[in-house]
């Protein structure tokens, strides 16, 4: 087949290269087509076999070379085939064969062409038809495309238009909305103002912030730029307003507003700044308040543009207390506001920590907490500084004690507020209080000492009638102290705990809970009470709960006075004539004693308020007592008769008196001491007569004076437990005072009463009488000497006068005993002195001496209650020494220093009456010892 196909190609190629069959359809189509035609050829050949056999043979004889397709040059080929020797015949033969072959092939080709023509034509027709269809299709497609493109074109443009329009509309709507928003923004301004003025700060701020957000969104609008600038301004202004509102919190805290403020600041994210700002406001609030308060009390003309401290100095003395109160009130409001701010934050913290654990808010919280804590101390420090400046600037020394106590009470209260506020000890305040107090107290004390001198100089030593159970707590001045003094004296040790816990705040709740910002009251309103110590809310550190005490003092006060008034008529006779009431003894005291006790009360009040100068106050208190003691001794013990007799006052008393004289009493030769440390010695009132023997040399006055001193000492003893509590820090002063000065008070009795005792017996007369007695009697006498009777008569008169005086003044046992003891002392002195007048004595004389002595003393025993009579031995031993032998006498002289040289010489003379030698020896010994001070 391939061969055949080849042949066809060859054929076609041979017949002209241009005649190509159009390549429509596939190669397959073409192949099948040719196959079909080939098959047809074969069939034709079969039928005509015989006719064409010859042809066939010819065909077959065609050399294969001719069937070569290209490059075949038939002529060249035939020529090459020719034999080398050309033979005509052969050539002719070949020519004919070739001609035949050519004919056959042509015929064959023609036949084949004929065979295929119809098919070819048919095929052409189909090709043409196909071509025509294709052309139609192309047209349709073209038309379709045109239509399509038209349709496409129409459709797209419209949609796009719609879309574009829609889009525009949307944009315009957006713009409209934006513009509306901007318009709203513009209008917010007014709304903001409204909110701010209504105090709705968080609302305003959140609105502002919202607006700012919105403005940021519309930044692309030119108009918004200006608007946002304006918004920023508004925000600044709002912050300013917040700041103003915040500063108002310093003066009057209001939780609602503060809530809003804090919310606003936290919206702004400026919680910390707000806190800083607030603290600053507090500081300036204190500064401004203090300044304006003080300024309002200073005269207008010269007060402009002065520093605060300078301004304080311009406050008039009379304006000081109201100024201080106003200042404290103003500062209290600020402090109280701060307290409430702190409370607010405390509550706020506890709420917020429970709900959110946000790091940022925690941080803020910490910051605020720290700030508030630090601010507390600083604020209090500022308060202290302001108040201290004012207090120190003013000269208080001319103030009355009540006024000064009022100042102290105010400052004390402030101090306590400080303690409650910031656990501060308020050192600055305390220092200024201390400084002023010491200044004031020195001056005050000098005044009191001087007053006491005037009292002493006017005192006539008449007993001042009081209740039998009178004690210092009944005095008005002890009103506030009564309870604590009694408590201290009553239970002593068990009450010592009070000083610690009582010192916080009197009543259970603090000032901050009692005086809140919402009320216009301040803790400083009540101090204006003229008697600050009666104020029950004033905490007494040593006191029991103050409520109890105030009640009691209200009730007891009138009762006490009522009793005095009631007793007035019924008992005044008894009061006056004899200070006994139903067997009970009224204490003997004078007007001056009462004055000392009153001062004592005032001093104690002061020391209670000024515990840090309590020791100073106490030293001054001691001085009052010492001055009284000194004066009593000075008035009534300086007229002792000058005998060679033992001074009856103890060494201890003398040293105390000397100490007082050196430290307290002004030396008259020195210029007047203005410092108030010393006071001139008082002079006894000229109305007091100490020389009248009828009146026992002013015994009544002396008794009143000394017993009032003893009473005073007792009252001081009564105060001791209280003072011990008060002066726990400086106990040694107290101990010294009590063991020396107070203890010695009863000893003043001896020197004072001995003045009376010694003068009541006429010593000179007695001695003169005794000088006349003859001691050289040989017999033992049975009758005593007459001088004994003289002495006894004098003693009887003394005793009688004592009884008379007892009608007016109660003489207690100690007084009587002291009086009699001194009388007996004098008697024994008189006896010994009288016995020693004579240098000569017999045994009988010695016996007479004993008789006289025994007689006198036994009679004295009847007059007084003193048992056994003292100073007996003084006489007894002296008389009996007569019987001593020489060597024992020597020892006796050495040992008995109580006898004077004169008395001993007389004794020696009597003993050694017959022995001149030993008499001389003993006298020489006595002289030597006396010189050497060995006896």
């Amino acid at each position: 087949m391939e061969d055949l196909k080849f042949k066809f190609f060859e054929l076609i190629n041979k017949q002209g290269h241009g005649a190509k069959i159009p390549l429509v359809g596939t190669v397959n189509d073409f192949e099948t087509g040719t196959e079909d035609s080939c098959q047809d050829d074969i069939k034709i050949e079969d039928t005509k076999t015989e006719q064409t056999l010859a042809d066939q043979e010819v065909l077959d004889s065609v050399l294969p070379e001719y069937f070569q397709c290209d490059g075949f040059d038939s002529a060249l080929f035939e020529l090459k085939k020719l034999p080398p020797v050309l033979n005509k015949q052969c050539i002719e033969e070949v020519c004919s064969q070739l001609e035949r072959q050519h004919r056959v092939v042509s015929k064959q080709v023609l036949k084949l062409i004929l065979d295929k023509t119809v098919v070819c034509e048919e095929e052409f027709a189909r090709v043409l038809e196909t071509k025509k269809l294709v052309g139609e299709t192309v047209d349709a497609v073209k038309r379709a495309r045109t239509d399509l493109s038209l349709a496409h074109q129409h459709f797209t443009t419209a949609s796009l238009g719609i879309l574009a329009n829609y889009r525009k509309r949307t944009l315009v709507l957006d713009l409209l909305r934006s513009l509306n928003t901007i318009k709203t923004l513009e209008r917010t301004e007014a709304r903001l103002q409204e909110l701010l003025s209504n105090g709705d700060f968080p609302g305003a701020i959140s609105l502002l912030l919202e607006c700012q957000g919105v403005a940021a969104t519309y930044r692309h609008f030119a108009c918004v730029a200006a608007l946002s600038g304006k918004l920023q301004d508004t925000l600044d202004m709002a912050e300013e307003q917040l700041d103003v509102a915040l500063s108002k919190m310093c003066y009057k805290f209001e939780a609602d507003i503060y809530n809003k403020l804090q919310a606003a600041y936290s919206l702004l994210g400026k919680t910390r700044t707000a806190m800083d700002q607030l603290l600053m406001h507090f500081t300036s609030a204190i500064h401004n308040s203090a300044f304006s308060v003080v300024h309002s009390y200073v005269e207008q003309n010269n007060s402009t543009k002065k520093q605060y401290n300078e301004l304080c100095k311009c406050v008039q003395e009379t304006d000081f207390i109201p100024c201080l109160v106003s200042l404290c009130q103003a500062l209290w409001k600020i402090v109280s506001s701060y307290h409430e701010v702190a409370c607010w934050h405390q509550n706020h913290f506890s709420n917020s920590t429970a709900t959110d654990d946000n790091f940022e808010s925690n941080l803020n919280e910490q910051y605020v907490r720290q700030k508030l804590k630090n601010g507390l101390d600083r604020l209090w420090h500022d308060v202290q500084t302001r108040v201290s400046s004012l207090v120190l600037a003013v000269n208080l020394i001319h103030y009355k004690v009540d006024e000064f106590l009022q100042v102290l009470a105010i400052l004390h209260r402030l101090e306590q507020i400080g303690k409650e506020f910031s656990q501060s000890e308020s050192e600055e305040l305390q220092n200024s209080i201390r400084k002023q107090s010491i200044l004031y107290f020195r001056r005050y004390h000098a005044g009191r000492l001087d007053e006491l001198r005037i009292f002493l100089e006017n005192e006539v030593w008449t007993p001042c009638p009081v209740r039998p159970d009178f004690s210092l707590v009944h005095l008005q001045e002890f009103k506030g102290l009564r309870c604590s003094v009694q408590q201290c004296s009553g239970v002593g040790s068990s009450s010592s705990h009070g000083s610690q816990d009582g010192s916080v705040v009197g009543s259970g709740d603090g000032y901050f809970s009692r005086f809140t910002c919402s009320t216009s009251n301040t803790p400083f309103d009540t101090i204006l009470d003229p008697n600050p110590l009666a104020d029950s809310s004033f905490p007494d550190s040593i006191n029991e709960p103050s409520g109890y005490f105030s009640e009691e003092s209200d009730e007891e006060g009138p009762e006490l006075h009522g009793e005095i008034a009631h007793n007035d008529r019924s008992s005044h006779n008894r009061y006056n004539k004899k200070n006994t009431l139903g067997g009970e003894t009224c204490p003997l005291l004078t007007n001056t004693t009462l004055t000392v006790l009153r001062h004592c009360g005032k001093y104690l009040q002061m020391s209670r308020l000024l515990r840090f100068i309590a020791a100073d106050v106490f030293v001054c208190l001691i001085q009052l007592f010492e001055y009284y003691l000194y004066s009593v001794h000075y008035f009534f013990a300086s007229d002792l008769p000058k005998y060679q007799i033992e001074i009856p006052s103890s060494l201890k008393l003398q040293s105390v008196l000397k100490r007082i004289g050196d430290s307290l009493i002004q030396n008259p030769s020195e210029p007047h001491d203005e410092s108030g440390q010393t006071v001139p010695a008082a002079n006894i009132s000229p109305d007091v007569d100490l020389t009248n023997s009828e009146q026992l040399f002013g015994l009544q006055e002396r008794v009143v004076a000394v017993e009032s001193l003893v009473f005073l000492a007792e009252q001081f003893k009564y105060l001791r437990p209280y003072l011990e509590q008060l002066l726990s820090a400086s106990k040694h002063i107290l101990t010294t005072f009590y063991s020396e000065t107070v203890e010695v008070a009863p000893e003043v009795r001896h020197p004072v009463y001995s003045c009376v005792s010694y003068r009541s017996v006429d010593t000179q007369q007695a001695l003169a009488l005794m000088a006349r007695v003859n001691w050289e009697v040989s017999d033992v006498m049975s009758q005593h000497s007459p001088y004994v009777d003289t002495l006894f008569r004098e003693l009887q008169i003394f005793s009688m006068r004592l009884n008379e005086i007892e009608e007016h003044v109660h003489l207690n046992q100690e007084v009587l005993d002291t009086l009699w003891e001194n009388v007996v002392r004098l008697l024994s002195f008189i006896l010994v002195e009288g016995f020693s007048i004579s240098n000569k004595c017999s045994n009988g004389g010695r016996a007479l001496m004993q008789l006289d002595f025994t007689q006198l003393f036994s009679q004295v025993e009847k007059l007084c209650t003193l048992r056994p009579l003292p100073h007996r031995d003084f006489v007894d031993i002296y008389v009996k020494a007569y019987y001593l032998t020489d060597p024992v006498l020597e020892e006796f002289i050495k040992k008995h220093k109580e006898y004077s040289v004169k008395q001993l010489q007389a004794l020696i003379s009597c003993v050694c009456q017959g022995n001149k030698k030993s008499k001389q020896r003993l006298k020489t010994l006595l002289d030597e010892w006396d010189k050497l001070g060995m006896r």
Binding site: P463, D568, Y575, N576
Partner: protein, 190 residues
């Protein structure tokens, strides 16, 4: 009364005087500085022994009664005779009707009191310790009268018991004035 004078302020809780209380004050009389020593003596009978000594040596006395208390007025003659008996003959006595502020409760008319004063050759003033009215004046008047008496030679300050002492400088006089408070009740119950 002396208390009111002394403290310059009325004390509501002012109580009975026990014994004698004391105050001092420097006032100006006719350009001279005069220091007053004021003794406020108890009015109660039982204190008489204590207070009598203060009559002696007093230059002046204020005899105070309560205009709202008839009894206190009636007792005046007793007090006056005491004062005349105990004090120096030249003593200047001022009669004071206190509680002027309680005019509604008045039991002693001004006329009655001034009549009594006239009869006894006393000066008379009505005061109010509560309001302080005439308190200062009463002391001033008393001091002025004493000074006038000295200048007229009726009173010799050098005499012992005159109650008058010259001060350190010639311009300054120390005047001891002892005042009698007649009614202890007159202040405390106001």
């Amino acid at each position: 009364m002396a208390h009111a004078r002394y403290a310059y302020a009325f004390k509501n809780d002012s109580s009975h005087t026990i014994g004698v209380e004391f105050g001092s004050k420097i006032i100006n009389v006719a350009g001279k500085s005069v220091k007053l020593q004021i003794w406020d003596t108890a009015g109660q009978e039982r204190f008489k022994s204590v207070t009598r000594s203060y009559y002696r040596g007093a230059a002046g006395a204020l005899l105070v009664f309560d205009i709202t208390n008839r009894e206190s007025f009636n007792a005046l003659s007793n007090w006056l005779s005491d004062a005349r008996a105990l004090a120096s003959p030249n003593i200047v006595i001022l009669l004071i009707g206190n509680k002027k502020d309680l005019d509604a409760d008045r039991e002693v008319t001004f006329l009655e009191a001034s009549q009594f004063a006239q009869e006894n050759e006393l000066m008379f003033l009505e005061t109010s310790a509560k309001s302080g009215e005439n308190v200062e004046e009463s002391f001033l008047k008393c001091s002025k009268t004493i000074l006038a008496k000295i200048q007229a030679g009726e009173l010799d300050p050098e005499r012992i018991g005159s109650g008058i002492q010259y001060g350190d400088s010639s311009t300054r006089r120390l005047l001891q004035e002892k005042n009698r408070r007649q009614q202890a009740d007159c202040i405390c119950r106001m």
